[in-house]
Symmetry: C2
Subunit: 193 residues, 2 copies
DNA sequence: TTGACTACATGAGGCTGCCTCAGCTTAACT
DNA sequence: AGTTAAGCTGAGGCAGCCTCATGTAGTCAA
């Protein structure tokens, strides 16, 4: 059967629609930051001063709302990969990974959504995740070709590490940025040789 | 204020109670395995052939049910730590970590619950998690004293890595055991020197 | 064996959150 | 000014959570 393309939210043409779209998105970002990806949609709507039906008009599913709320961040990440590519391959990879960990864990629950989206085309965030995957794979290959990273590491495994670090960051106390340290440990290893 | 001790489920004295307790636990394990830690409690009850009130009588909170469903596994883990301690310190640590990753990710959502329980005393699983923490810390110190593991790794960081690997395992396709590979990468490191 | 005690079982019902849809409003274009 | 369709609304159906008043039956002592 044909792959069903997921609905991706679009900023409406009409002025009132655009206004509400923006307000809802702002409320959603605030709620996600406070509560995580399973924040109450009815709360978000009322916080935005809008009826629940209006929220659903613009964002028919929770996944669509999450995608819209995180789109900018992931686009930035992809853009940064290009910029880093000019520098030392290993530095490029590690810096980009640090950025990636931050972007994929901006609120509780995001990493899980993005991880699923990475391999599921029926998901709004899939396009962004696939782009991320390409960037990561390119930077990885460059670092491997330069002999700076173990050759047996696959891109999928790289993303396993990345999402794992993101998950730690997501679930650690706000002050202690465990994500960065964990990423460092992953890169350097724990066992002495 | 005094720390509120969490309710921990106990197998009842009366025969009918014990029967239901066991049946509910079996249904819960099956449901958690299939759906994850947020499986419907009403489904679990009806699967066990019991009214919802009966489930709540034995397991007043979801956390209590999860704790009861995973108690054996975590106890085993603690017991194994003692057995491993006699062998080579690095082998002991790595083998125990492999076991730990498996035990803390027996179903979707468990790692998150246990991670929170590790540092929150008001949680049914806290006792088990604290015991786990002690075991891990002991094995880590032994491996560090033997000069086999980097000295700047703290026990908390060890558990960050452990839960991260568990999360990956939890969220990867059943066939591909990504957890083991990710743990290996964490221990060995990714960057060549 | 019987009676009493009390642990245990039941399920309707109140609550919250999800999501839909029929009817109304209004921006935008001619 | 009229028309049109994009947009807005919120009641209502559904599912899951959890409680509690009421009913049932194991257990134990006499």
């Amino acid at each position: 059967m044909a792959a069903t393309t997921p609905y991706i939210a679009q900023r409406p043409k009409r002025a009132d629609g655009r206004r509400n779209y923006d307000t809802i998105l702002a409320a959603a970002r605030k709620a996600f930051a406070a509560t995580g990806s399973d924040a109450s949609l009815e709360d978000i709507a009322s916080q935005a001063g809008v009826a629940i039906g209006t929220l659903y008009r613009h964002f028919p599913t929770r996944a669509a709302l999450v995608e819209a709320a995180t789109r900018d961040g992931l686009d930035t990440l992809v853009a940064e990969a290009g910029a880093y590519a000019a520098t030392d391959p290993l530095d490029a990879l590690t810096h980009w990974m640090e950025q990636a960990v931050a972007h994929i864990s901006t609120f509780r629950g995001l990493v899980g959504i993005l991880t699923e989206a990475m391999y599921d085309e029926g998901t709004p965030s899939h396009v962004a995740c696939a782009a991320m995957h390409r960037c990561g794979a390119d930077l990885l290959r460059a670092a491997q070709d330069a002999g700076r990273v173990r050759a047996d590491l696959t891109p999928d495994e790289l993303f396993d590490l990345l999402t794992a670090a993101g998950w730690v960051r997501e679930n650690s106390a706000p002050g202690r940025d465990a994500g960065t340290r964990v990423l460092q440990l992953m890169l350097e290893g724990v066992v002495l040789r």
